[in-house]
Amino acid sequence: MATREPILPPAAGLDLRRHYGLHQSPAIRAQGLIFCSGMVAVHPETGEREHGTMTSETRRVFGNLDLLLRAAGSSLDRLVQVHALIYDRIEYDVLNRAYREFVPNGPPARTVWSVKIESGFKVQLDVIAAEGVTL
């Protein structure tokens, strides 16, 4: 039987279920893939929201995502698909500048969604990654 393994929060602040009552696991591992919950800019130790610029939030989200994917036995260079949710299309180029720092080679498939994001964040990343490390 194929398994479904919830991934525990890799740092106390990334337990959004405990801090904000969001009814979700940080990630689930199944069929060689890591399905992550939408990630926002919170402090990884305190869980405090870190509203900022598109750039500062994007960097914080990727920092948190790096922690989560490592805990799940994957890494940023194994990202497969990203839905980059942003609060306004006008920040598309700003998102790209910060975003490319974290996916320098063979970046994941991506769709940018201009949508409403919870709690007034400017960016939220919804990702799927492949389990394992790059050989």
């Binding site: 689930i28 949710l85 790209n96 994001i117």
Partner: protein, 268 residues
């Protein structure tokens, strides 16, 4: 890689059939089930069941449990939920109604606020474990490209995404906007034309990489104007005449005057 269409045991949950729409409620492949975005439907009549955020959420998840059971799975096997809300001011009522359906180790989840069809307050889609014995441990990951370099906008415009990523027997395709295959320039004609250009470029990208439109498992469509939903479905029928993929259509702001952006997951 087999690709199997899911048929709900309760015919009232077969929304595409009831409303004459050219998509499937769900597709099973590679040990995973991809369900189309679901809105509140009365399981006893098949009619839309508009209500509060809480009542619509409960109706959807009850039906989703039924739908997954028809496919040999269950809510406990859901790995990922994407929830689209008409307003994030309703996040609390959504979350409240949602909780009870996933008592243990809830799925990963992404919530966003978009424009929804038919005045519904919430639309929910999921990916679930199929519940069979097939297990995938390691998936090779490789970026894919279209054979026609003019359609490779990631490379041409130095964007930080690949046209798609292959992982094992699945391909995840980036959001595609209408580019003219002869010039690589944006084709900003009527939405109907934009949709055809995107789907035909998607066919090219998939065929360049050992897949095809017939192998698409899930389509995610973003429209700048939800009044164009019918236009999209009319054309989708033409591009996916048999065993169409699962599909979710939502409305949002798009870049550069594009009327449509489409991404997909396909089996190789």
């Amino acid at each position: 890689m087999p690709r199997e269409t899911i048929h709900p045991a309760n015919k009232n949950l077969d929304v595409p059939k009831t409303f004459g729409l050219p998509y499937s409620v769900g597709i099973k492949t590679d040990g995973l089930i991809f369900l189309s975005g679901m809105t509140a439907i009365d399981a006893a009549t098949g009619e839309r069941k508009h209500g509060t955020m809480a009542s619509e959420t409960a109706a959807i998840l009850t039906n989703m449990a039924d739908m997954l059971a028809s496919a040999g799975s269950s809510l406990a096997n859901v790995v990922k939920v994407n929830a689209f809300l008409h307003s994030l001011l309703e996040m609390e009522s959504f979350n409240g109604a949602y909780k009870g359906f996933f008592p243990e180790a809830p799925p990963a989840r992404n919530v966003s606020g978009v424009i929804l069809n038919s005045g519904m307050k919430v639309e929910i889609e999921c990916i679930a474990l199929a519940g069979g014995s097939e297990t995938v441990v390691r998936r090779e990951r490789a970026p894919i490209e279209p054979k026609n370099p003019l359609l490779n906008n990631s490379r041409r415009f130095n964007r930080p995404h690949s046209p798609g990523i292959r992982v094992g027997n699945l391909i995840f395709v980036s959001g595609m906007v209408p580019l003219d295959p002869a010039t690589g320039e944006a084709r900003l004609g009527p939405t109907s034309e934009q949709i055809q250009v995107v789907l035909s470029n998607m066919a090219h990208l998939l065929e360049s990489n050992g897949s095809a439109l017939e192998r698409v498992v899930k389509l995610n469509v973003s429209l700048a104007n939800m009044l164009e939903c019918d236009t999209f479905y009319r054309l989708m029928r033409r591009f996916f005449p048999n065993d169409p993929p699962a599909c979710t259509v939502v409305g949002m702001q798009l870049s550069n005057g594009h009327g449509v952006e489409i991404e997909c997951v396909a089996a190789v």
